[in-house]
């Protein structure tokens, strides 16, 4: 396989939090590695508490310290530079300029006392040294690009004057104003209604195509991943448990967690039937189980799973790995 140069390389990322009582350490992200290539969409999937959002915040060093800290030995390399080693001004030149981010909740991530035009223009003024007038023209252009009607008028509106879908479009316009190479989209449609979600996802697809950026799509929704990601990283309990090209993941989910998650999704294309539920719940980040972290909920687990955590093992399909001993002992999958 010819591999183009990696744009964003995450290696052995560990982000821990000291808990409130000072009694323990929450190992929110615990040894996460993945690569993002130019122009692709990489989906990071998992449920609450799996570490997917902390991973994305760590990339831009947005994890509040304290209580959080990224451990030494972690590497986040963007175009050959370790973001974790950059000085504050160097980091600012990357953040919002070459790597941008959109958040889940468009109401709380927009400033209520500035117009949307001001907020979109801010990054252009800072990073591209545009004059106020030019930045305003750029803001209007961005509003048009993200499909907001009457951009000349909307540019002077405040966030509360916009609907949820419109606010998310403004967030996208803010993120893309400097034409970043990487867009991190953290649950970009979770707060939106399904018809609006469809609009926003279509918009992201179109913009990615037009601007040629790479997208790190963080979501709990396997449906969103199936329709929009080229490759998928599945996270559980702070670990990557499976990575695969999207087709392979849905055709041959290998980790029992991925398998269980897929079976638990209510399907609109399947008749009414009892859903498959994964028993139990996600363990606490202060006390991950020993061995494979999924073993207490796994239907196949045996002694080895309790004793020893598996590494990410090659499944045989190019680019498909799973952190599960079943890869070496497939006969145990009943």
């Amino acid at each position: 396989m010819t591999s183009p140069s990696v744009l964003l390389r995450v290696r052995d990322l560990k982000t821990y939090f000291v808990t409130e009582q000072g009694k323990g350490t929450a190992r929110a992200v615990d040894d996460v590695s993945f690569d993002l290539y130019p122009g692709e969409t990489l989906g990071i999937v998992g449920e609450s508490g799996c570490g997917k959002t902390v991973t994305s915040l760590s990339i831009l060093r947005l994890v509040p310290e304290p209580p959080g800290h990224v451990l030494p030995g972690s590497l986040i390399e963007f175009e050959g530079r370790n973001l974790l080693a950059l000085s504050a001004p160097e980091l600012r030149a990357v953040r919002g300029n070459q790597i941008a981010m959109i958040f889940q909740e468009p109401m709380t991530s927009l400033n209520p006392v500035f117009t949307v035009g001001d907020q979109i223009a801010e990054a252009a003024i800072i990073h591209q040294r545009l004059s106020r007038k030019a930045a305003r023209a750029r803001a209007i252009e961005m509003l048009r690009l993200v499909g907001i009607p009457d951009p000349d008028e909307r540019v002077d509106h405040y966030p509360h004057q916009l609907s949820g879908g419109m606010r998310q479009r403004v967030m996208i316009a803010m993120a893309l104003v400097c034409h970043p190479k990487v867009l991190i989209a953290d649950e970009p449609t979770t707060a939106l209604d399904v018809t609006i979600q469809a609009q926003i996802l279509e918009l992201l697809d179109r913009l990615q195509h037009e601007l040629g950026m790479a997208v790190l799509l963080i979501t709990h929704d396997l449906g969103v991943v199936a329709g929009h990601a080229d490759r998928v990283v599945v996270m559980y309990a702070g670990r990557v448990v499976e990575t695969a090209p999207t087709d392979a993941l849905f055709e041959r989910p290998t980790h029992p967690y991925t398998e269980g998650l897929l079976a638990a999704v209510p399907r609109i294309d399947a008749p009414r039937a009892r859903l498959h539920a994964i028993p139990g719940q996600v363990p606490a980040a202060t006390a991950w189980p020993p061995g494979c972290r999924f073993h207490p909920r796994c239907p196949y687990a045996w002694e080895k799973c309790v004793a020893q955590e598996p590494p990410l093992l090659e499944t045989g399909t190019p680019g498909h790995t799973a952190r599960c001993w079943l890869v070496t002992e497939p006969e145990r999958r009943r």
Partner: protein, 321 residues
């Protein structure tokens, strides 16, 4: 046998007044605008819609957690809106609700046991908390815990146990799984299905997620801007949706299948404000139907039978899209 019968239910919220409540009132918000349906005993009606469709207001008004503007709700032939306080309290035992957010719907200062004990005391019933916990799949040790010690799924089980403690016949489930993770959501949906079979419960299952509704509902009603735009047996509405809004809603659900051949209908624009619903068919400004005409803009389509038990409020419900 019909257990709950809702007829022409209307709920308007008075418009806000400017000038600290002294100025002119804005247009009222027509949250529910003439909704009718019946649920047979032991069945589940899925009530589906997006934010602002009025689905939650329907559920709350039916239980008289909010007073209606007009309309009637019959529960076993009793007119719910005509009851005095004493008889309403007696009836409330038979109709309960499970709320969406298991974080804000439990009192943080009450243990699980106190939460479950309270409705029993109000209604003068004897019941064992441990048996209730067991029924919803929680260990008896949970009785002494406070809500903050529980996960979202466990809290929702407590919410369900609380609703069931007074042995209701009818339960409004208002988005009971939308705050939960997928794997836990499946647990709670299965639990609701088991309890229904065991206790012969009747559900109004309110949700925005059509895929979730598919797994629990016998019949489905779709709401848009305070009105039911389509109603049919579940199998039928999923196989052959008639209203363009239902068709778009079904097509917009992201499927966990990268090879889906589904044609996606992406609706333009936002949901209009229920204070200023569009003229004629409320869906016409966003409607992608090829036959859309002047008639849609002027003449509100009635909810009419397309086949004997499949109703749709569209002038062109018989036409393909």
């Amino acid at each position: 046998m019909t257990l709950v019968d809702v007829r022409e239910l209307v709920k308007y919220y008075a418009g806000e007044r400017s000038w600290f409540g002294l100025g002119h009132a804005k247009a009222p918000v027509r949250a529910v605008d003439g909704v009718s349906f019946a649920i047979a005993s032991g069945r589940t009606l899925g009530l589906v819609g997006e934010s602002g469709s009025g689905k939650t207001t329907v559920g709350r008004t039916m239980l008289r957690l909010q007073e209606p503007t007009s309309g009637t709700v019959l529960f076993e032939e009793n007119d719910v809106f005509a009851l005095d306080a004493t008889r309403l309290r007696a009836l409330r035992r038979r109709m309960q609700i499970v709320f969406q957010d298991p974080y804000s719907s439990l009192n943080p200062r009450m243990t699980v046991e106190e939460t479950l004990r309270e409705p029993l005391e109000i209604h003068g019933l004897n019941g064992a908390v441990s048996a209730l916990l067991d029924e919803v799949g929680l260990d008896a040790a949970f009785a002494k815990r406070y809500p903050h010690e529980l996960s979202g799924g466990q809290r929702q089980r407590v919410g369900i146990a609380r609703a069931l403690s007074v042995e209701p016949q009818f339960v409004v489930c208002d988005e009971p799984v939308s705050a939960l993770d997928v794997s836990v959501q499946a647990q709670v949906l299965n639990l609701l299905a088991d309890l229904q079979a065991k206790r012969h419960l009747t559900y109004l299952f309110i949700a925005h997620d059509l895929a979730v509704v598919r797994h629990i509902a016998d019949d489905v009603a779709v709401m848009y801007l305070g009105k039911i735009v389509e109603r049919a047996p579940a199998a039928e509405i999923y196989a052959q949706p008639r209203h363009p809004y239902t068709r778009a809603l079904l097509s917009a659900v992201p499927e966990p299948n990268p090879h889906t051949t589904k044609r996606r209908i992406v609706l333009a624009g936002d949901i209009p404000s229920p204070a200023h619903p569009p003229s004629g068919c409320p869906f016409h400004p966003r409607c992608p139907h090829p036959k859309k005409s002047e008639r849609c803009r002027t003449e509100p389509p009635p909810l009419r039978p397309i086949t004997p038990d499949h109703l749709a409020a569209c002038h062109f419900a018989e036409e393909p899209m």
